[in-house]
């Protein structure tokens, strides 16, 4: 069913944008940031408020959501996260869950508990018939935008100086520092960009996934799945993993009864992890 494949790919692309920041920060700083979803939520709410109160057009909100989440990420990283870098993973879990709780409670207080929605501009609504399959315009937009982003990110990682510094720092931070690479700056910048991407993903996702203060808790599982299956040593892994999961989830729910359809991604996860415990694309270390 071409439409289902298409829908799955769109969902997967969205997951990629949401989760790639987490993959990179995990791979780079070995920090299990369970609060990643909070940045996505921030981007979503920024978009909702801008569109509702000030009538800012949707497409203009996207870069603003990115910047706002990136700024938030930068501030938090420099003030709070930086103290947690050397700590045990358990303490990092404690810390990030605490942050999620705070984020959820604050959002609930200021924004209310009900789900929020946005009105897409007319040119993004509706469907079209392409090669016999009916596809949604918004989903096509998602695929194009997220695909372009993935390409840009991969190029930045592979071809720019910052990218090579980042890769060096991921491989071995101590040696990188020894070579004069400003690892602290790399961490901060990467964290900011990762959070910004999450915010952008949150903004894009309001239409498909909904938005309420419990968003970080609801979707944390999916982000973690992308990161685990994809591995954390680059962007290709999470990209393929997101697509795989998006298609598996959508196809599973379509072809199997809904009772079983929900399980499909978890079963896929278990199977992948049993066969390749370090993720699909992990390099041998």
């Amino acid at each position: 069913m071409a439409t289902i494949l298409f829908d799955g790919v769109a969902y997967g692309m969205l997951l990629f944008v949401l989760a790639c920041g987490l993959a990179v920060t995990l791979g780079l700083m070995n920090f299990v940031n369970l609060a990643h979803g909070a940045f996505a939520m921030a981007g979503g709410y920024v978009t909702v408020v801008l569109m509702d109160k000030w009538g800012v057009p949707f497409v203009a909100c996207l870069p603003i959501a990115f910047l706002a989440a990136a700024a938030l990420g930068l501030v938090l990283e420099r003030t709070l996260y930086v103290h947690m870098y050397g700590r045990s993973p358990l303490e990092q879990v404690l810390f990030s869950i605490g942050l999620v709780f705070i984020a959820v409670a604050v959002t609930d207080y200021f924004m209310g508990s009900s789900q929020r929605n946005i009105q897409l501009p007319a040119w993004l609504q509706g469907r079209r018939e392409v090669l016999g399959a009916s596809i949604g315009i918004y989903r096509s937009f998602l695929i194009v935008l997220c695909g372009a982003l993935a390409l840009v990110l991969q190029l930045a990682l592979m071809k720019t100086r910052f990218g090579s510094r980042l890769r060096a720092a991921v491989d071995d931070a101590r040696v990188a520092r020894g070579l004069g690479i400003p690892v602290g700056f790399v961490f901060a910048a990467t964290f900011a960009v990762g959070s910004g991407l999450a915010g952008l993903g949150g903004a894009l996702g309001v239409e498909l996934l909904g938005l309420d203060p419990y968003f970080p808790l609801k979707f944390m599982v999916f982000f973690l799945i992308v990161v685990t299956v994809g591995g954390t040593s680059g962007l290709m892994g999470p990209f393929v993993a997101s697509l795989l999961l998006g298609v598996a989830d959508v196809a599973g729910k379509y072809y199997l009864s809904s009772a079983l359809g929900g399980f499909v991604i978890y079963v896929v996860l278990i199977v992948v992890l049993v066969l390749r415990p370090h993720g699909l694309f992990a390099r041998a270390r």
Binding site: L26, P89, L94, G98, I102, Y266, L269
Partner: protein
């Protein structure tokens, strides 16, 4: 001090431990009021203890420990409803069911990094949640298991409205299982687990059958979690899908981290702190307890639990000495 003497010292009962248990059992006779909360603390403590066995002693990080808790709860519930209402029998059945489940899934956590294990355990719990939802004839589905009328403990003590019997039942189970855990942990088996947690390669080089030990530890942890789940089912007389929810696994992990891993009493300490904090925050500001809880966790993480416990221990030592 030789190795054997230091091990013997660790195995002895400390004064603080004895005092603690006296107070815990003494609370049974306190005036009615808080026994329900105490019962919940005891159940959470047992659940956290079960996680400590696999996390603090075997080094397996699990985000899905609720799978065994839930399995035990449903086993006890279905047993009570369909076979026999006696709680002790139900408890034993639940332990066995959870242990079998733990054994079956233990093979999945043997390989991979910490993150892999985290995700696999999470996935197992989520799959189990979906399975429970998909079998409403057995589990009651989203409505929960109906029709559980739990019989009196040991044939004589009925579960009362004040929760006194519940607390006594849970506390005794916790005590017995803790005694057992103490024995296991001080045994060569337990020591080998600690060696594995510190450095699996080195342990393997020493001839410790790492995989077999991990499977055994995981099964034991699962069995304990199943016991905790059964206690919850029996003392509340009801089982719903959220015994398998991610929130349960997250809560117990938090509880254990707060209390401290690797010293058996961490689960109990964490449970007391977590539940009381939750209760106090919840009644003072029902809408914002999540916020204060989050602040507490962040501050605790930043300050560092280590500093807190060493600070506390230093204080106690100074008091003891003077």
């Amino acid at each position: 001090m030789s190795a054997s003497t230091s091990l013997q010292r660790r195995a002895r009962w400390r004064v603080a431990e004895i005092v603690f248990w006296l107070v815990a059992f003494g609370a049974l006779f306190a005036p009615a009021g808080k026994h329900l909360l105490l019962n919940e603390i005891a159940i959470l403590a047992l659940f956290a203890l079960s996680l400590d066995l696999i996390l603090g002693y075997a080094g397996i990080i699990s985000l899905g420990h609720a799978a065994f808790f839930g399995a035990g709860a449903y086993a006890a519930g279905i047993f009570c409803k369909m076979v026999m209402p006696d709680p002790t029998a139900g408890l034993l059945v639940a332990i066995i069911v959870a242990a079998v489940l733990g054994f079956a899934t233990s093979f999945l956590v043997l390989r991979g990094s910490d993150l892999t294990r985290l995700m696999v355990t999470l996935a197992v719990a989520l799959v189990l949640h979906e399975v429970a939802n998909a079998l409403p004839d057995w589990t009651g589905g989203a409505d929960g298991l109906q029709g559980m009328t739990v019989g009196p403990v040991l044939g004589t003590f009925d579960f009362d409205l004040y929760g006194r019997t519940a607390y006594a039942y849970s506390l005794t189970t916790l005590f017995v299982l803790l005694l057992l855990a103490r024995l296991v942990v001080r045994s060569p088996f337990g020591l080998s687990l600690m060696a594995i947690r510190r450095n699996p390669l080195r342990a393997a080089a020493l001839g410790v059958p790492v995989h077999r030990r991990l499977i055994a530890a995981y099964t034991l942890g699962a069995a304990y979690a199943g016991a905790a789940g059964a206690l919850l089912a029996q003392t509340t007389g009801y089982v719903s899908l959220d015994v398998l929810e991610f929130q349960r696994s997250a809560d117990v992990l938090l509880t254990l981290i707060i209390g401290g891993t690797g010293w058996l009493y961490g689960g109990i300490a964490g449970a007391i702190a977590f539940k009381i904090l939750q209760d106090v925050l919840s009644s003072t500001s029902p809408q914002f307890w999540m916020f204060w809880m989050g602040i507490f966790l962040v501050v605790l993480a930043l300050v560092g639990r280590e500093r807190l416990t060493t600070g506390a221990r230093g204080l106690v030592a100074r008091v003891m000495r003077s």
